[in-house]
């Protein structure tokens, strides 16, 4: 799933490890999200949205829109 996660993370100067800790997932999971190797669950997508204070669709492109 296309997303702006890497851009948002880099804007804040966070490492994948730091973002993973903030979200409660592994660095591997953050990397997989950024490289589109993993589509997040609804729960994880909402956690990301809350962390960056943006709507989910600002971060993850809706493939059905």
């Amino acid at each position: 799933m296309k997303n702006r996660l890497k851009l948002l993370r880099v804007e804040r100067g966070w490492t994948q490890e730091q973002l993973g800790q903030a979200l409660g997932v592994s660095r591997q999971a953050v990397n997989a999200l950024e490289t589109e190797k993993h589509d997040p669950s609804l729960d994880l997508a909402y956690r990301v949205a809350v962390l960056f204070a943006r709507p989910v669709e600002d971060i993850f492109e809706n493939p059905h829109a």
């Binding site: 490890e17 409660g24 997932v25 592994s26 660095r27 591997q28 999971a29 997989a32 999200l33 190797k37 993993h38 589509d39 997040p40 669950s41 994880l44």
Partner: protein, 134 residues
């Protein structure tokens, strides 16, 4: 199967510790059996105890792997589950093929316990190809 690096998760660290706790006794008892430590009971009912003792760490290791799946985040869970299913499926396929070969084609008899190392062989060789949760 085992990698304990700086960026590993608590679930992965537990998995590594549990794996060592189960695999070291497994290897030691097997090595003892190979070198004749249990020769006196071979073929006797008491040998079933030995068979159960050697098999117990196998059950433990499967539990450790399923615990890793349960305790990991959603991405690692998906990857590990895929790897477990693929390794199990390939092991069953090869064991079935060889078993039918024994039954119908006179293939050399191999002990059934070989399915366990075979599982870990397929676990290892499949790992580089399982990179996405999709």
């Amino acid at each position: 199967m085992l990698a304990l690096g700086k960026s590993t998760t608590p679930a992965h660290r537990k998995y590594v510790i549990r794996t060592m706790a189960f695999m070291i006794p497994y290897a030691l008892v097997n090595t003892g059996a190979i070198f004749g430590a249990f020769d006196e009971i071979m073929g006797k009912p008491a040998a079933w105890v030995l068979a159960l003792v050697i098999s117990a760490p196998v059950v433990g290791q499967i539990w450790a792997t399923l615990s890793l799946i349960r305790d990991s985040d959603e991405f690692v869970r998906a990857l590990t589950a895929k790897q477990f299913i693929i390794a199990s499926g390939l092991s069953m396929a090869v064991a079935s093929m060889w078993g039918f070969g024994e039954s119908y084609a006179g293939a050399y008899h191999l002990p059934a316990w070989l399915i366990y190392p075979l599982f870990w062989f397929f676990w290892g060789v499949s790992a580089p190809f399982i990179r996405t949760s999709k």
